[in-house]
């Protein structure tokens, strides 16, 4: 039934494929299987939420998909590349080129100012004139007066907005967000959510969003639910259904 839905649009290109992903951790003698046989594809330009109760393996899945970790078995292919044979170096380059990140705990570099944080991914590529682009992005997230502040001098919401600007500075093809509003209060969450979706639409980036907030999940095109490391449902949301009709 779900497959039927996906097959309805054969024109779209796939940007992320997970095939039979399994992740197990060894703790002493015992082996703890955190992800079991997870398979899905995500189309370029779409947005997708991964939901599930705490401990169900969402973050683990995200880490595997983004090439931050390696699966025990199964394959991930991102932007047409199979990740498993790639070295750490190659993975790093791939992330830099195609992937953006937003984290629950913001993860700004404490020793850099807001604008420097935003510039890092672009500078890593060897680009030199990134100051203007970074400044524009920070203006877009409403922080034009905070360019030279250090993370400790910013509130949580402000930090996450800087992180958003950083995530988009390289015009990524796919953005991974792990509970981006998990550490924020309701009001700030709204602002950050809105910015996230706005930037996403504007740049046509694929979005993979991990959350346990169902309300937020409903704003994406598709929801994959995990429980105990297995996919228990995979459905299109109303917003997606509306668009495709």
């Amino acid at each position: 039934m779900m497959n039927a839905d996906m097959n309805a649009e054969p024109m779209r290109r796939t940007i992320l494929t997970a095939a039979n992903l399994t992740k197990a951790y060894k703790s002493g003698e015992r082996e703890l299987t955190v992800l079991k046989d997870v398979t899905f594809e995500i189309e370029e330009g779409s947005s997708c939420a991964v939901v599930g109760p705490s401990g169900s393996g969402k973050t683990t899945l995200l880490g595997l998909c983004a090439g931050l970790d390696r699966a025990s078995s199964g394959t991930v292919s991102l932007v047409g590349e199979d990740l498993s044979p790639l070295s750490e170096e190659e993975l790093a380059e791939l992330r830099n080129r195609y992937v953006g990140f937003v984290f629950q705990s913001f993860q700004l570099i404490p020793t850099l100012t807001a604008i420097e944080n935003v510039m890092v991914p672009a500078e890593l590529r060897g680009e030199t004139r990134v100051h203007r682009r970074a400044k524009e992005l920070l203006e877009k997230v409403g922080l034009s007066d905070r360019l030279h502040h250090y993370p400790t001098q910013l509130s949580g919401g402000e930090q996450q907005r800087v992180a958003l600007a950083r995530a988009f500075v390289n015009k990524p093809r796919i953005l991974f967000a792990d509970e981006p509003t998990g550490n924020l209060d309701a009001e700030t969450s709204d602002t950050v959510e809105k910015l996230l979706f706005d930037l996403n639409h504007e740049s046509g980036t694929t979005l993979v969003l991990v959350t346990h907030n169902l309300e937020l999940a409903e704003k994406t095109d598709r929801i994959i639910s995990l429980r105990g490391g297995m996919v228990v449902s995979d459905r299109l949301t109303e917003s997606r259904s509306l668009v495709s009709q």
């Binding site: 380059e93 020793t111 420097e116 890593l124 400790t152 792990d178």
Partner: protein
């Protein structure tokens, strides 16, 4: 790799931590300073030698004989030409009639304009030349000060009384430092005869000094006349030989001091590794984020390597600068050991070498905590389980880095040792000492934790617990500070024990006064003098001087050329002062064979001390032929014995049985005891006035001499050790500063929980108190063991664990630790918590 970005990141990332980074790297400052100052000083000294080489000898050529120059010798000397001077030198007692004091001195009777290069420095200055014009003498200043003698006072040498014409301040080419052991007195050569001291059998050296034309090649002459001189038994010394010898000695000194200074550098390296480790720990999330957004593993590693490298360069340059400054102090430290005027210039070679070695050490040690940066996983951004953050498997490169550190230490030790055995020994000693200190530190921590009474007040338990916080550097701090305590205390305890050993020679009833150079006809009368003053001759020992003619049937000349000879060449050439008696002394233990007190065979069965038997490579039954003033004497090794050199008495390498040497030319030694210094002085005076050729040494003179040697030695070592001690406290400061944030969070938490400021201050104080106690205990325990081992095994003496010294070291270390710790915690309590948290990174 994108170096532009790496440099930029390194720069930006360091913005808030530069002061801290510099502090980390300043751990190597003192080590570099030590190396630069020592090397720069010796470079300067070598330069001075180059320029003042002739002053070392005072002449272009010196020719020496052990017997007076006979007509044939004279003919040879005259054939060389140039301007000549003569000197007769010997040891003798000097008597100061005004002060009623006697003292063993080195007499040099001079004729001619010697020194030809450089000048005697005297007071008054004119005395240097005038003293040869009458019965006048130049007397070592130190000796004059010791006995309160003034210019114009009389001094009696042998049968002649001289008037002191001037104080001798400096003799070119000789260091003043040694004048305490054998104070020098110059007299005109004309009066040697009259003193009556130069007789057959007494040890006298005869010198001819030459000033030769500028284009004269003295070395060539020496080489060309080799055979003739051998026949005449004349040895020669030229400026270039003297210079070479001096350079060799200097080189040894330079290497020794460098090695001691190097310890500071190694300690600094350990400090660098430990603080970089903490620093990286605080940077893990940053690295994870960078990896997430696409930085490659080696790029993130390079960022911190660049930071460490730049700081290392700053540290090394700072050290070089300080070293250049300290270099000026070294001549003062070495006191008057150096017989030359040294000009002070910056030696760029020394600076370069010091900076390179310093930077290399810092980087190698920094690599150990830096390498794991490569392996920090980007996954850390998603979850913060630090334990798995750098990959579980063993990092081969870290092991390689450890290996490199080890190799570098070994390489340095070898490069700075004259022999590879010494280098290896130093390396092993260093590693073992550091290893033992670390082990002791760990044991101390474990034991304290286990047995600390849980009933103690909260602040005490908290202060102690602070030392066990996760990722604490307590062990490294104990090592850094403990090493200083170890150094100081070991030096001191060894010195004290050795001195005490020597002093104990003079205990009740044991001999403390020795008369030597007594001629056979003088024996009985001298014994009467001793008896008449209510003292007794405890031992009478005959001494016969001889040389070796052959060993195991092979002539010594031949043996010296023989590559396969397993003994030492100097042992073949030396003069042996032997005795004969019919039994062994208490201080001697028979190891092999039997000692025949008397044997009537043709061949004497002699007893050899075990060391000299080894040096001569002979065993029981091997034959030896001696030469006593031209008369051969056949002997055989009959026994080998151990000698305890622990008594104030004469000891011998070779003891003959009775029945062989009774008729040989000989002199005698009396061993006696005086219960008070006054009695000792009176007896010496009486003996010397009756027999001016007899010399006396009393124990207090020996003790003073040894004291003075030890004092000079330990002072120099202590000075070099100072670099390590300062490094220890720099490492301590670095660690306390980098633990500041952690400590602050704890303080804030405690304050939130309702602790008062005095309580928090007390907790901090107690933390440093424990740290200081731990560190000093570690150092003290190891130093007690080490100095015991040195005293017992090396010097074969009794170890004195002086309690007061231990207490003083303990107190000083604890005090300094608390002072540094508390002064660093000052700001912690003054500001509101939030403000503090935000301002620091």
């Amino acid at each position: 790799m994108n170096w532009g970005w790496i440099l930029q990141m390194a720069w930006r990332d360091s913005r808030h931590s530069r002061r801290r980074l510099i502090l980390y790297m300043s751990s190597i400052v003192m080590g570099v300073a030590a190396l630069v100052s020592v090397r720069s000083f010796s470079d300067n000294l070598l330069h001075s030698v180059e320029q003042q080489a002739k002053i070392l000898l005072g002449a272009d050529l010196a020719i020496r004989s052990n017997s007076p120059f006979d007509p044939e010798d004279e003919a040879f000397l005259q054939s060389i030409g140039g301007i000549q001077a003569r000197q007769v030198s010997f040891s003798s007692m000097a008597l100061f009639p005004t002060q009623q004091a006697t003292r063993l001195v080195q007499v040099r009777a001079l004729r001619g304009e010697f020194p030809f290069y450089g000048e005697f420095e005297t007071e008054p200055a004119s005395a240097a030349r005038d003293f040869q014009s009458g019965k006048l003498a130049l007397v070592d200043n130190i000796l004059m000060l010791q006995y309160g003698v003034e210019v114009g006072d009389p001094i009696k040498i042998g049968n002649v009384t001289f008037e002191i014409k001037g104080r001798l301040l400096q003799i070119p080419g000789e260091s003043v430092a040694f004048s305490e052991f054998a104070p020098r007195i110059y007299i005109p050569e004309t009066f040697v005869e009259e003193t009556g001291l130069v007789q057959l059998g007494s040890r006298v050296r005869f010198h001819a000094f030459f000033k030769l034309p500028v284009d004269f090649d003295a070395d060539k002459l020496v080489e060309a006349t080799d055979e003739e001189r051998e026949r005449l038994e004349l040895s020669a010394d030229t400026v270039s030989e003297r210079k070479e010898r001096f350079e060799r000695q200097l080189n040894n000194l330079d290497r020794f001091l460098s090695l001691v200074g190097f310890i500071a550098l190694v300690l600094g390296g350990i400090g660098v590794a430990s603080s970089i480790h903490l620093y990286i720990r605080q940077r893990m999330e940053t690295v994870a984020v960078l990896r997430c957004v696409g930085a490659r593993p080696y790029a993130s590693f390079a960022i911190y390597l660049v930071q460490a490298g730049l700081m290392g360069i700053l540290g090394a340059l700072g050290g070089a600068l300080i070293g250049i400054g300290i270099q000026r102090l070294i001549p003062l430290i070495l006191g008057n050991l150096i017989p030359l005027e040294i000009e002070q210039a910056v030696s760029w070679g020394a600076v370069g070498q010091g900076v390179l070695v310093g930077l290399g050490t810092a980087l190698l040690f920094a690599l150990i905590p830096l390498l794991p940066v490569r392996r920090i996983s980007p996954l850390l951004t998603l979850r913060s389980d630090y334990e798995n953050a750098t990959g579980g498997k063993r990092d081969l490169l870290v092991i390689v880095a450890f290996g490199l550190v080890g190799l570098a230490l070994l390489g340095f030790s070898l490069a700075y040792s004259s022999r590879w055995q010494v280098g290896l020994g130093f390396f092993v000693g260093l590693v073992v000492t550091l290893g033992l200190l670390t082990a002791l530190a760990k044991v101390t921590m474990v034991i304290t934790r286990r047995y600390f009474p849980s009933g103690w007040q909260y602040v005490w338990r908290q202060g102690l617990a602070n030392l066990y916080r996760p990722h604490n550097q307590t062990v490294v701090l104990m090592l850094a500070v403990g090493l200083g305590a170890f150094f100081i205390l070991t030096l001191y305890l060894t010195q004290v024990s050795l001195l005490d050993e020597v002093s104990s020679f003079g205990e009740e009833g044991r001999p403390n006064l020795i008369f030597f150079d007594i001629q056979t006809p003088q024996k009985d009368e001298l014994r009467q003098i001793v008896d008449s003053m209510d003292m007794e001759v405890l031992q009478e020992v005959p001494i016969v001087t001889m040389r070796l003619a052959s060993v195991k049937g092979i002539g010594v000349d031949e043996l010296r050329e023989d590559e396969s000879y397993g003994g030492r060449r100097w042992a073949l050439r030396r003069e042996y002062r032997c005795t004969y008696r019919d039994e062994l002394w208490d201080s001697e233990t028979l190891l092999e064979g039997t000692f025949a007190g008397r044997n009537d065979e043709q061949i004497a069965e002699v007893s050899l001390e075990q060391g000299i038997a080894e040096d001569l490579d002979v065993k029981i039954g091997d034959s030896l032929t001696f030469d006593i003033l031209g008369i051969p004497l056949e002997a055989r090794v009959g026994s080998i014995r151990a000698v305890e050199w622990r008594n104030f008495q004469t000891n011998f390498f070779i003891v003959f049985p009775t029945g062989f040497l009774e008729e040989a030319p000989q002199f005698h030694v009396f061993v006696s005891r005086a219960d008070t210094p006054e009695k000792s002085a009176a007896l010496q005076r009486a003996a010397i006035q009756r027999f001016p050729n007899v010399s006396a040494v009393d124990l207090s003179l020996v003790i003073d001499t040894i004291d003075s040697i030890l004092e000079k030695l330990t002072f120099v070592i202590r000075f070099m050790a100072l670099f390590s001690i300062i490094t220890g406290f720099v490492v301590l400061t670095g660690a306390i500063v980098s633990g500041r944030y952690q400590r602050m969070k704890e303080c804030i938490l405690l304050r939130t929980l309702g602790a008062s400021r005095p309580q928090i201050r007390r907790i901090l104080l107690i933390e440093y108190l424990f740290l200081g106690i731990f560190a000093s205990i570690t150092g003290i325990v190891l130093s007690l063991v080490a100095s015991w081992a040195i005293v017992y095994f090396v010097f074969d003496a009794v170890f004195i664990p002086e309690f007061m010294a231990v207490v003083v070291v303990l107190g000083a270390v604890v005090f300094l630790t608390i002072a540094i710790g508390m002064s660093n915690s000052r700001g912690l309590l003054e500001h509101p918590p939030l403000e503090v948290l935000r301002a620091e990174d």
